[in-house]
């Protein structure tokens, strides 16, 4: 799965050279409850049926990083606090 980089921000700065993801998911904490899947307004989360984590569940995965707006609704509803949410990185100011 390739990550698409964020569109250039205002001011015409170039995109970042390193790939990043708006979500870091601790898959071994996830219990597959799907509350985040329902809460996500961009429908970019889904359980991964091909993986069973240490707790015995299908953990959630980010299916469309480009669609993610870092709204953090997933993190808000998650009972197990599996998400770390990042926003599009800003360049260092001059």
């Amino acid at each position: 799965m390739t990550l698409s980089l964020p569109a250039p921000s205002r001011g015409g700065h170039a995109p970042f050279p390193v790939p990043w993801s708006p979500l870091a998911i601790e898959t071994d904490r996830c219990k597959g409850c799907e509350l985040c899947v329902t809460a996500c307004p961009k429908a970019c989360l889904a359980l991964d049926p091909g993986t069973v984590n240490r707790l015995g569940y299908h953990p959630v995965q980010l299916t469309d990083a480009a669609a993610c707006t870092s709204c953090a609704f997933c993190a808000r509803v998650c009972p197990d606090a599996v998400f770390t949410v990042y926003a599009a990185p800003k360049e260092a100011a001059r």
Binding site: H13, A14, F16, P17, V18, W20, P22, E26, D28, R29, K31, G32, C33, E34, L35, V37, T38, A39, L55, Y57, S70, A72, F73, A75, R76, V77, C78, P79, D80, A81, V82, F83, T84, V85, Y86, A87, A88, P89, K90, E91, A92, R94
Partner: protein
């Protein structure tokens, strides 16, 4: 063109530090996990972790002491407000928090919660109401809805023999010792956000010496209700809130601790409105300011 330095992605949200590394025993989708997280977030933001002594209930959240990195005292079923009172009185510098379920607070513990509130104890009570006894296998609670099927109301709660769901927080809001009483839920991100700000307000009521503060958080029990987690959220949002409306029930914060004995007519000196804003069931929008304005009106 200036050289671009790749900056680190900005963190919008990360797991609060006061949550331990232990994976909780709660069922998938259980609201306790959300409330634990909110408590960890608020205590962390207010810097209260090192000062807090928390009191754990009996119920699913009996293990709260494994999930939040605080000093904890286990209380017998229902007695958490009394245990918290004892801690509060001998440790004036501590921040004292109770965490209780609906059986703990609204059934066996009614005496203790009412009198802690009546005394205006400077404690913050978190009341997780999922309308069922989860730990013991899904029996009826005082807050179970009419018609709801549980293992001890298999044909649905009938008011004729089991009475009506108990509105504990409305009852407590009447007491002058209560500085803040609100009801939130874990139904959706917006409610969760409002619940968090209520929890914060309830903590501040203790810090400012305003009085007793309670936040009731409507929560789900997917296994006990016989639903998937997403279904239980829909039920919480659409059905449970009809019996238990959300909002700030009373906000008497800002008055500070009454100094000296009360006025001869029995009112606390700073309490101009003993009945508080709880006389009507109309919920405020969830912001303390609106409720305050409603009270002044």
């Amino acid at each position: 063109m200036s050289a671009l330095a790749p900056a680190a992605p900005r963190v919008i949200y990360r797991r609060p530090e006061l949550l331990t590394d232990v994976s909780t025993r709660y069922c998938p989708g259980c609201g306790h996990g959300v409330v634990h997280r909110l408590v960890a977030e608020v205590l962390g933001e207010l810097g209260l972790g090192p000062r807090t002594i928390a009191v754990a209930p009996v119920g699913c959240s009996v293990f709260a002491y494994e999930y939040l990195a605080l000093d904890w005292c286990e209380a017998p079923h229902g007695r958490a407000p009394a245990v918290a009172t004892g801690i509060r009185r001998v440790r004036p510098d501590a921040f004292v928090l109770t965490y209780q379920g609906d059986g703990d607070l609204a059934a066996i513990g009614t005496g203790e919660i009412i009198h802690a509130a009546a005394r205006g104890e400077l404690i913050t009570a978190i009341f997780v109401n999922n309308g069922i006894y989860g730990m013991t296998g899904g029996q009826m609670a005082p807050t179970t809805l009419l018609g709801q099927r549980t293992t001890s109301s298999p044909t649905g709660r009938d008011a004729r023999d089991a009475g009506y769901p108990v509105p504990m927080t409305e009852m407590l809001a009447v007491l002058p010792g209560v500085a803040f009483a609100g009801r939130g839920s874990t139904a959706d991100p917006s409610s969760i956000g409002k619940t968090k700000s209520m929890i914060r307000k309830a903590c501040e009521a203790q810090l400012h010496g305003d009085g007793f503060a309670i936040v009731e958080v409507l929560s789900n029990c997917p296994v006990g209700w016989g639903m998937t987690a997403p279904e239980s959220i829909v039920h919480l949002r659409d059905v449970v809130t009809r019996t238990y409306p959300l909002g700030v029930l009373v906000d008497r914060t800002g008055r500070g601790r009454a100094q000296g004995p009360e006025a001869p007519d029995g009112t606390a000196p700073a309490d101009a409105d003993p009945a508080g804003a709880s006389s009507s069931a109309t919920p405020a929008a969830g912001s303390g300011d609106a409720a305050h304005a409603a009270k002044e009106a």
